[in-house]
Amino acid sequence: MGFKDFLKGYRGNLRVILESAGAKIWSFIRVIRDDQIFEGVLLPRSDLDDDQHINLKLKNGYNIGVKYSPNMRIEVLDYKPVSYRLPEKKLFFKPDKPNITLIGTGGTVASRLDYNTGAVIPAFTPSELFSAVPEIEDICNLTPKPVMSVLSENMKPEDWVKIAKEVDKEITNGSVKGIIIAHGTDTMTYTASALSFMLRNPPLPIVFVGSQRSSDRPSSDAAFNLINACIFAAESNVGEVVICMHGSSSDNYALIHRATRVRKMHSSRRDAFKSIGSIPLAKLEAGRIKILLKNYTIAGAKKYDPQISLDTKVALLYFYPGMDASVIDYFIDKKYHGIVLIGTGLGHVSELLLPSIKRAVDSKIPVLMTTQTLWGYTGLNVYETGRKLLAAGVIPCSNILPEVAYTKLMWVLTQTDDLKQIRSLINTNMVGEILDREEYNGFMILQGVENGVENILKNI
């Protein structure tokens, strides 16, 4: 991995003495400072770190930072640029196995490690992928297609449209049995739910997959999740957009979640993805698929209806006590086309926001209401504030999750700009985003807790 800057991350005086010694990143150098001597490979330094230390990889493999000193001397002993040979593995097309396309968006499904530098190199050619996760060969013919390289948090709605178009292209080509999208987990549910609206009734499974432990570590969940995503894409008859991730902290089963009912509920656990208010769509254990939600759409049963565009001028606002009404005014003034509010409890915001909300509705900007509690429905008829919000023209979103209401409104706005029709479309269950009834255990089920909620509570 070469760097454009041969002294990446080094600035100021330190850079001057490294330069004058002829040192480059990966040079084996000797640093002499007073009576101390350090020898090791010069490593790149993060631009965010200070300009006072040299990163060295010692012979024993450990890294240290050596502090700059004006009387420091540097000698270059050797230079071995790091070069990477890719593992080659012959691929055989197996006519009896289903074809699956893996669309890459930037996350690393598989990667290799460079012990000399500690760099992580993504594996994305088919041969690289198969040498990292050889199990895939026995499941399907997998063709990776890198579409973009964007960190999940930098993803924009325009990227969702781009991904949807790639998926649509694969579907129309007609030669694949399923599609997998490798995606960073942070905003995976946004992309997945946006695709649910843009690609309704897909004739094959569209499976998002990611990892919570990067693939450069032996305990990574990436291979496990990818293998299960392959099985689901290759073997299930589900015609929906879903997310496939670890079901528990153990490496025992994966869960398939409907893209419009799932949320990342933990910042780092493997089993961070939970279906909210509902149970997951399916469970995968030891290579077997067990469908849990009987009301899924069967691939090909309904007509595939791609409508791939989004109105990106939509805002998603989290209400907090003390929120200034001018926040809403800002979006009206900026000519936004829609606002999704995440209110408290049954769907409330402070009365002080009412005039601005009314102003938005009067300017033909739909204002949607979802709830911060995530579980449960909005209920604007119950209290005075709710009734006032309804009177102001707020559209309650039933129990659509806030992020899903956001992607849905973006899509709905490409269909109509009439407030009445928008209201009606928002309240129509299109791709499983609304649960028409909430079962008792919809709240209780925390998937991934092996012994059940009761056992956990007992032991706390």
Partner: protein, 638 residues
Amino acid sequence: MVKKLFDYRQLGFKAGLEIHQELNLNNKLFCKCPNILQRGEPDFIIKRFFRPVMGEMGEFDKAMLTEYEKNKTVVYEGFYQSTCTYELDETPPTQINEEAVETGLTLTLLLKGTPVDELHVCRKNYLDGSVTCGFQRTVIIGLNGAVPIENKIVPITSISIEEDAARKISEENGVIRYRLDRLGIPLIELVTAPVLEHPEEIYEAAYRIGLLLRATGKAKRGIGTIRQDINLSIEGGARVELKGVQKLEWINRLVEAEIQRQLSLIDIKNTLLERKGSPETLVFNPVNLSKIFEKTKCKLVSNSLKQGKQVLGIRLPYFKGLLGRKIQLEKSFGFEIADKVNAITGLKGIIHSDEQLSKYGFEEHEIGEVKLTLGLNSEDAFALVIGELEKANKAVKIIVERCRLAYTGVPLETRRVLEDGSSRFEREIHGGARLYPDTDTPPLKISVDQINSIQRSLPPYPWETEKIYSEKYSLPIKVVRELILEDKIDLFIEIVDRLSIDPVLVSKTLIETMKALQRENPKFKEISDDKIFEIFKTLKTGRIAKEAVEDVMRILGSDENITLDVALEKLGLREITVEELDEIIRVCVEDNLKLIKEKRERAFTPLMGEVMKKVRGRIDGRIVSEHLKRELNRIGGE
């Protein structure tokens, strides 16, 4: 002291030490879990698998691959109290434990080493499952230290802090169980240069480093809290890492047994070369011999065949007689191969032609047929493995590879030491290549102020303390050292200083009496420091005599649940109640009415003597005196 078996100089013997010491800090290294080990049933169980990560050339680290090939399921036992989502590899690390860093710096300065200016946490890959994330977080704190021993200065190449691994509980049928309480406990690791040329030097260096670790005041005590690994080699042999030396007194016999092993392996290599063999003659070509044994009388084989297992055979050209050769204590080369097969595949072992095959119940014609089928020549040996086809194939592969390695003499290996002095294969030696930076932790700068402040409060050198104690308590250095090694020095000081009891008596009791009792009863349990202190306190109050100390200890050591009171009662030294005392006094007074009338107040002293004879050590003398006076007054009043 030990019979000189080898001329170490002539052998070209070289050894280095790697010492791991658990630190006694409140929290773990990278999370806020308490630093405790737990007993009883775990609160929850997690199951995981590990995958090797490719190295820079797109290849897998050999040692890691060996682990992966073991294809093991790892089960973790967790406790709510001592395990959080960090140990489960579900949450990134928090800031490194500052006290641990400080301890590392203290040690670096004690060793006159160079503290690292900016700490970079690294990951060291482990695929055996002992660390949930597959790597241990470790950071170098200091470089280029040194520890003086009798006739040389031993360089300490690095001082680092790292996380302890999980505790292995069991391993059966391809499932390894680990307990997570120990995972993440801060450890200090010291590595010496390979300059030690005699087991006594290893001992001395390990002892001195151990003393320094204790001097920081942060070292954990007790069995298993300090672990020594010895890297050693001899001329013509190879570097072998002996892991898990828990007691310094093992060093001698471990080193001797390993040298015996290396010399024997070199002999085997020479024999093979004399026979004009070469590694290329060993071909991975397992032959399925199950048919030959269809009607065998060997129960082991017939039962296995019934379960669908197979018997595979392999010809081992030029190995006749070599498999049966003893290479370490009573263990043969064949045993060493079987042990490696067991460590990797979990199969019980192998059967080979240098064994007495009739003891398995094989008949001559069966063996004849095996030899014929395998095409054995006069200098050849064969090995059989029994197991499911896949496992058996893997076992044959291991046998072939190990026999090929016999041509190089001693393979580079990490071996786990056993108490008898021998060792067993654990894994290939890890390359230094398995370290890479931890992306979850930022670099940590060490300021000059911090170094100066630690420098100002450095503890004195323990070998100097050794001298000081020896003078202060008038004990030979040897005795002080033994107290230190047995981890009894603090207790010793407490007893002697606080109770002012003769240091010789205390040191003898703590060392000699303890050892005698342990010899007498192999199941003798460790007696806690608190209990021992109480025994001496009882001695001080006069409740027991010097001679009774050993008896009390014998009882306490027989069962850890016995309290001191119970032990004393068993010896008839039960404490008596005030009521019982009053009764004894009453009887005594009644018997001596005449004396009391004669001597009046002066009768107190002889009576006190008489009562004390009956109650000595069972109740405080002051109470006796008080109650006796009261009784005498009462009588006087009448």
